[in-house]
C-alpha cells in the first residue's frame, strides 16, 4: 500500500490565512495547472521508456516501465511554485522516492550533485541534499491518474521545495556528479538552486 507524504504547510483544509502562509514571496495562486515547455512534448511509449541512475555510482542501474512500477510507491501532497510566479497548492502525486531509487545503487562518496536528464534533451541540476531525505520523487500519477504527457508523463521528477523548473518533465534518469554543472535554464541566467522562499529566481538573487 502506498504511504502518504504531506509537504510543508499542508493541513488538508483550505482557509485563506493558511493559503497565504503557504505562498512564497512574489507568487500568486492558480487553480489551473499551466503547461510550460521548452520544446515539443516527447511521446515515449511505455515499452521503450527507461529510467537510469548513472555517473558516480558503483554500477549504473536502469529500470523498464514495468520494473519501475514494481518499486515501493508513495502518495505525496505538495505545494508547487513556478518561477513564472504561479503557485498551485495541495497537488497530489504518486511516485517513487529518490531515496528508494538510491537504495538500489551504491553512491560514490564523492557524489555531491545530481543532473536530471530527460527525453527531449532537457536537463536541470540539483545539489544531492535537495533530492534525498524525502524531498524528491519520480511521479507517474497526478490526481490519481497517469501523468499526462503535457505535464511530463510518463514520469517526471518532482522537487516541490524548489521552483518547478527543477521538477524535470519526461525525466529519463539521474546522473551523479562530483562537481556542479548548470542545466538547461541554469546556464541561461536562472538561479542555480531556485528556493522559492528566498526568491532565488535568477543568477545573483
Amino acid at each position: 500500500m502506498a504511504k502518504r507524504f504531506v509537504s510543508r504547510g499542508f493541513t488538508g483544509k483550505r482557509r485563506e490565512p493558511e493559503a497565504a502562509d503557504r505562498l512564497p514571496p512574489g507568487q500568486h495562486i492558480t487553480p489551473s495547472f499551466p503547461v510550460l515547455s521548452a520544446g515539443p512534448t516527447p511521446r515515449v511509449s511505455l515499452d521503450e521508456w527507461t529510467f537510469t541512475i548513472e555517473g558516480l555510482v558503483r554500477e549504473p542501474i536502469t529500470w523498464s516501465w514495468e520494473e519501475f512500477l514494481s518499486l515501493p510507491t508513495q502518495t505525496y501532497v505538495a505545494d508547487i511554485h513556478c518561477v513564472t510566479k504561479w503557485s498551485k497548492l495541495g497537488t497530489e502525486w504518486e511516485g517513487v522516492s529518490v531515496d528508494t531509487l538510491f537504495e538500489q545503487v551504491a553512491l560514490d562518496p564523492k557524489a555531491g550533485y545530481v543532473m536530471a536528464f530527460c527525453y527531449g534533451g532537457y536537463t536541470t541540476n540539483l545539489p544531492l541534499p535537495d533530492v534525498v531525505g524525502g524531498k524528491a520523487f519520480v511521479a507517474y500519477k497526478y490526481d490519481g491518474r497517469p501523468l499526462a504527457p503535457e505535464h511530463g508523463g510518463p514520469a517526471r521528477l518532482v522537487v516541490p521545495h524548489l521552483y518547478f523548473w527543477k521538477s524535470a518533465k519526461w525525466v529519463r534518469g539521474l546522473r551523479l556528479l562530483e562537481e556542479d554543472q548548470p542545466g538547461f535554464w541554469e546556464s541561461m541566467g536562472y538561479h542555480n538552486r531556485g528556493d522559492p522562499w528566498k526568491e532565488e529566481r535568477y543568477r545573483g538573487d
Partner: protein, 81 residues
Amino acid sequence: MRRPLALLAFMQSPGFVLRCPACEHVVMRIVETPDAIYLDTRGAACFRLKKRTSSSPSSSHPSGIFDPNGGKTRVSSPRRS
C-alpha cells in the same frame, strides 16, 4: 545558399526557445533577467532580422527582436535530422 528556415517557437516557458522544425534541436534560447539578456545561438549560422517599416504591422513583442506570429524573423540554420 541555404533557404531561410521558419523555426518552432516555444514561448510558454521561463525563456524563449527556438527549435529546428525538422530535428527539433535548439537553434536559439533567449532569457531576460532583471539585469541581463542571455542569448544562446548554438544552432544558428547567421540571422536576418527584417527591420520594422512604417507599412509593417506592429509587433506584439515589446522588444521587437522576435515576432513568431508576424513571421518576420528568419534564421539560417544548419539542418540536422
